[in-house]
Amino acid sequence: MSDAAAMTYREACKQAIRDALLADPKCFLMGEDVGRYGGCYAVTKGLLEEFGEERIRDTPLSESAYVGAGIGAAMAGMRPIVEIMTVNFSLLALDQIVNNAATIPHMSGGQFAVPLVIRMATGAGRRVAAQHSHSLEGWYAHIPGLRILAPAVIEDARWMLAAALADPNPVLIFEHVMLYNMEDALDPAVAEVDIAHAKCRRDGRDVTLIGYGNGLLKALAAADLLEADGIAAEVIDLRVLRPLDTATILASVAKTRRVVIVDEGWKSGSLAAEIGMRIAEDGFFDLDAPLRRVCGREVPMPYAPHLEDAALPQPADIAAAARGLVRGR
């Protein structure tokens, strides 16, 4: 596709899958309801009709089996895309992901690679309560052997998949549920992205806001609020949660000297904790204010809308944290 027409994040994901299947006969997609149902979030609508049952495979509700099957198929020479409906269900496949996919290349002494892509919907905000609202990408970012991606803008939704499929290692792509309807224009000049670096989405000089996924959009909204107060916030989109692009983060900290990290995951042991520690380790002397983070409240996600909103970072919270650092209060 080379026009600059606006497209939704959902459509961008679909285009990416379509491109992948057209480009490589070894590539196929499997997951629950990806075929006849058209995908839980309608990402794969129409693909079954176009590519057939061999390449768009509806699986039984057996996360462990079909994720493990993806791993085995990848080891045997295919390039599978496994869709786990949401990160909440991925817990059923955790053993296959951690003990097989992440581990076999190293444990076999480099004999076998696992060139597998797993896509999952993630995150909260849809009032679907505790068991359906996790943000566990930070957990996955703890595991060596995995690459963890969090596309937050249309361009990344469109092009990260191709880069992930080119990677000979297991790559997990986390698509935030609140982003599927987001619409934006794609730059026709861009036909690929890297899956190694964070990106500055907004230049600033007073404080750095770091986020990923839906948290990035909230950080950008916070930056708008701060602008009205005369505070120029710089916003960094992590894009890659493992391995973290510490260089980009530190460069921003050296410039603004104040940081607020936004993470929808629960605060304790969060990815925000890891980022904060890296800044403390390698950017300590650039800091002119304590490190701050705005994270999910440590509760199972409640159903009632006002409670869910209170449990998640909001732009006002992020702006307040940033303001506090800049103004000393």
Binding site: K26, I71, H106
Partner: protein, 328 residues
């Protein structure tokens, strides 16, 4: 007895040799473990030799294998080089996995040996995946998936059996029912102890065979493999067997009696087979002695190779956490 098996002298001696190689290898492992040259967990195959040996006879070089942490028998029967196997056990970089995996995680690309796996049931999804990959690439290969009675209790068994049948994947599920998962006797853990019957719930052909009879195992395996190659779908084989040694080196075996073990030893696969060969005039004392001596020589050479091996440099610790490319 299936007449399709060649019961000629060479083949029978080959079966004997394979089982003896495994038995003696395991004995050497005990010695090395007690001398602290093998570390961690060690799970020995004594008593189950007929299962690996019999099944491997039915497979071809293009087929794939997934096994468990009790996989020395599968590895040796499959043809993983014994010296590289021993070096792996001793943690040397000359081992098949550079010493990264040890006893429970033997991988060998050359023989399509997709691992040992330390998680009970962890290999089943992987096995159906390898079969899926082969099938989608139009290969004629099948994947033999070995697991124990304990794995049958894990959810992965149900999911993998179901998916293999639904997608008609070329998998030979081989359950080595040695009556115990660690210390848990099968009758205390399973509502249905006739494991072969469970295959019917998935509409998968399932057969039970005397796992102490190497010829019976080979026959049953050949039949199952033929069905897979002809029909494409999975087959299930329950091999009824017994492990003579403890679950691992750290096991006082409080859960079973010495009498029980002795009873099974007397009807063990090697004893029975040797007995039958001698009675039938197909092997003499000196033949057996020679087989054992050759096995010991091979093992001694493997130990020498392993002991002369070198530890992987610590600087290489992070190598292969991520791969630069897919190996071809």
């Amino acid at each position: 007895m299936n007449t399709r098996i060649r019961l000629d002298h060479d083949h029978l001696h080959h079966l004997l040799r394979q089982m003896v190689r495994i038995r003696h290898f395991e004995a050497k492992c005990v010695e090395l473990y007690q001398a602290q040259k093998i570390f961690g967990f060690l799970h020995l195959y004594d008593g189950e030799e007929a299962v690996s040996v019999g099944v491997m006879e039915a497979l071809g070089a293009e087929d794939a294998i997934v096994a468990t942490y009790r996989e020395h028998g599968q590895a040796i029967a499959r043809g993983v080089a014994m010296d590289r196997l021993m070096a792996e056990m001793l943690g040397k970089q000359e081992g098949c996995c550079r010493g990264r995996g040890g006893s429970m995680h033997i991988f060998d690309r050359a023989t399509r040996f997709y691992g040992g796996n330390a998680i009970v049931g962890g290999g089943l999804p992987l096995a159906i995946g390898v079969a899926l990959g082969d099938k989608m690439q139009g290969k004629k290969a099948l994947t033999a998936c070995f697991f124990g009675d304990g794995a049958v209790e894990e959810g992965e068994f149900h999911e993998s059996m179901n998916l293999a049948e639904v997608w008609q994947l070329p998998v030979l599920f081989v359950c080595e029912n040695n009556l115990y998962s660690m210390g848990m006797a099968v009758e205390r853990a399973e509502s249905e102890t006739n494991i072969a019957r469970k295959a019917a719930a998935y509409r998968m052909p399932g057969v039970a065979v005397d796992g102490m009879d190497v010829v019976a195992v080979e026959a049953a395996a050949r039949e199952a493999v033929e069905r897979i190659r002809a029909d494409g779908g999975p087959q299930f084989l329950e091999c009824r067997t017994y492990r003579f040694r403890a679950h691992s080196m750290f096991d006082s075996q409080a859960y079973r009696s010495k009498d029980e073990i002795e009873t099974w030893r007397r009807k063990g696969p090697i004893a029975r087979f040797e007995g039958w060969l001698r009675e039938s005039g197909l092997a003499r004392e000196e033949d057996v002695a020679r087989v054992e001596a050759e096995a010991d020589a091979e093992i001694d050479a493997a130990v020498a190779f392993a002991e002369a091996g070198t530890p992987e440099p610590v600087e290489e610790l992070e190598r292969f956490v991520t791969m630069d490319q897919v190996p071809s």
